[in-house]
Symmetry: C2
Subunit: 436 residues, 2 copies
């Protein structure tokens, strides 16, 4: 056979026994004739979080003794409560038995889990189990949503925003090219969320678009919209015929009585998709389980229910979340599991309070961190990536540069409350030493 | 708040306190202004397997006492070997401990698993771990591949073929509309795989396309290409500058020495992506774990490595396979796990032999079933759906109609070897009673 483990030299000739020169003439030695997808070429830098991981590794390599603490990527650190891992473990063990084994399940999720998600999170809001689709997480659902809506779709996002909305839209061809000067893509409506507007967009200035991606409580600013603000958003969408993709990944962190689901708002079931996840609820960031609600009353302009096409996307482009993981999800929505989840949430909220107080005490401008696990800290006049680099350099502490979420995040860093308490306390000590 | 649980009447007025008539005037009562994605509208019937499930349920409802046996959807039935479930269980239990807990992992998969997949399945073939991407299964990877290549991509498929290739291509807008008469989409090249050509396409008649989806051993025909045939396919792709998406989901069933990976073929690393899965290897159909190989040497026409863009797709549109499930995958590729997997494969192959012999004995035209877990049975002159319905009606046995995989499957049904031995034996008894 052919030699292996050899370093290939691009373009270099090597003997090929089985090909004729004539057939090869049409194609150059080292490339296929397949054009690169121009939408992929539009993407500016790498996806934000892998880039942060890269910089972290680089710092570690240069400083092998540094004990780096990450309050960056928003990654959960605390063990999953036993009542939930028992269910995961039981399902895993069951796979070795005739009774416990199961093969392909419904792509939309186990019926029992869909039922329980509907009753646990949407009780009294008129959401039925056939409107709840279980998945391997919201990020994956967001890119499937772009497949659902297609390239001929106009998009609005909060600025700053979780990068998957924009990047998935770019990949699907729903946007123009990147404007290097503004770091914004053409044909996307960026709705500025600034301290001047309480991090809620000025809808009177926003363009009419097909989709509005709206994350609430917000990642990264930690802002949480009031009932009145959400009603104005839904009214705005209905007036324009838009669909809101409402990302409620942090809803369980709300403590001030603001709505935890967009379906608490009058009219939302006619204009909103809601996506959510167990990642930040039960520490399932690595375990992978989420869900998306597509109400039956939500319709395209021709009257086709969006639910019908979403069902087709889920059955064609997805094959169901892992059955073992869904068993864990079922445990999360029992009373005991839910209480245990709330224990985790309370733990991270306590971290958040400590981080928030630290920055307030040091005299920084501080936002968020009350109804959301993120603290949004202003370093006015300084580029976010510089601040990120400085905090990494001086404190061995990973944060997330605000500008990584969009130009309106410039001058801020996001500090995540997902961390072990002792790490958070140590991070605070280091921060106080440098900035206190 | 608003009344819930009420049946909505489309278009019917109901009191709405918070909206002004003026704002609503632009949009009709019950729809948004968002256009339905025309690509979704192109899709003919439902996805094949849910449709079969629907017909099965219908039959059960009409015949509540029927003990239906399914040799239809290709769903695994036998418990996962203990050496593998122990690993799944251990990882699940570990999630409750400080040491065992992990959050977000690399979207491309755990480094150790990528290493082991490379060495277990591609040893000596020059595939490195950075070319192996772990996922939640091949079906999901196939639709992500369409996102990778984009809508301006021409497609060829075997006919008959696993429906996800065509349906994902339709959803991405890479095809024309469905021709109702031929049941084929415009702008797809269907490469006929018929008994006349030994179920391997006549490449001298095939169009040049960007992508060639090629499933080998084939689902549904059970045919397995020889080394010479695969070399001719790779040569054909290279001559045309095409990329082959090689679906090797059943490769482990090959017993006659034919290549188990396309990378055994000279030149394949410059023109082939290979996707594979633990679904039919280890009974992971519900557990969800697969992988896709994108060689570094595979390049778009502008010289950009395909691997680079695939990495961007995986990091943006996916968030990694479940960490618990990946631990199971790691067990599958140990020596003990691999032997246990081969035990499962041998079990299903024995089923296959029994099914094959049954149809041969009854005088049917029988193909496949040697290097693949599917037997392809000809009922010449009869529509596949009629035969499917007859077998369901008379034998309480679910098969898959050949025409569900494309027009060239007409007149055949696929019989899957995935079943418990006693069910397979009972199915054979019933078949012999009706057709013997």
């Amino acid at each position: 056979m052919r030699p292996t483990g050899r370093t290939a030299v691009v373009g270099a000739a090597r003997p090929r026994a089985t090909r004729t020169v004539v057939r090869m003439a049409a194609v150059s030695e080292a490339t296929t004739g397949v054009k690169r997808n121009p939408n992929l070429a539009k993407l500016g830098a790498g996806y934000l979080f892998p880039e942060i991981g890269r910089r972290r590794r680089e710092h570690q390599e240069k400083n092998p003794d540094a004990k780096i603490i990450s309050l960056g990527i928003g990654d959960t650190t605390e063990p999953i409560p036993k009542v939930i891992t028992d269910a995961l473990q039981g399902a895993a063990a069951g796979m070795n038995t005739k009774e416990g084994y199961s093969g392909y399940g419904a792509e939309q999720g186990m019926g029992g889990l869909r039922d329980k998600l509907a009753s646990r999170f949407y009780d009294g809001l008129g959401i039925g189990s056939d409107e709840v689709f279980v998945s391997d997480g919201s990020k994956c659902d967001i890119s499937r949503m772009l497949m659902l809506f297609g390239s001929d779709t106009s998009i609005a996002v909060q600025d700053p925003a979780y990068p998957a909305y924009v990047d998935s839209s770019v990949i699907m061809g729903a946007t123009g090219v990147l404007n290097e000067e503004t770091s914004q893509y053409n044909n996307i409506t960026y709705m500025n969320c600034l301290k001047e507007n309480g991090f809620f967009p000025d809808l009177s200035k926003a363009n009419k678009t097909d989709l509005i991606f709206f994350c609430n409580p917000n990642n990264p600013t930690g802002a949480c919209a009031t009932r009145e603000q959400l009603q104005s958003l839904v009214d705005f969408a209905k007036a324009n015929g838009s669909i809101i993709v409402y990302d409620a990944a942090y809803a369980i962190y709300i403590e001030d009585g603001s709505p935890k689901s967009i379906y608490e708002i009058e009219g939302a079931d006619e204009c909103c998709i809601e996506t959510c996840s167990f990642s930040k609820y039960a520490g399932f960031t690595g375990v992978r389980l989420g869900w998306t609600v597509v109400p039956n009353k939500l319709k395209f302009s021709d009257g086709t229910p969006v639910n019908k096409d979403w069902n087709r996307i889920m059955t064609t482009c997805f094959n169901g979340a892992s059955n073992i993981v869904q068993a864990g999800g079922l445990a999360c929505v029992t009373d005991a599991g839910f209480d245990a989840m709330m224990g985790l949430v309370t733990y991270y909220k306590e971290n958040c309070k400590l981080i928030r107080e630290c920055f307030v005490e040091m005299g920084f401008e501080v936002y968020g961190g009350v109804n959301a696990p993120y603290v949004w800290v202003g370093f006015e006049g300084r580029p976010s990536w510089d601040v990120f680099a400085e905090i990494l350099q001086k404190c061995d502490l990973v944060t997330t540069p605000g500008s990584g979420f969009g130009p309106s995040g410039e001058g801020f860093v996001r500090v995540s409350a997902f961390g072990n308490r002792s790490d958070v306390e140590e991070a605070i000590r280091r921060l106080k030493k440098v900035y206190g």
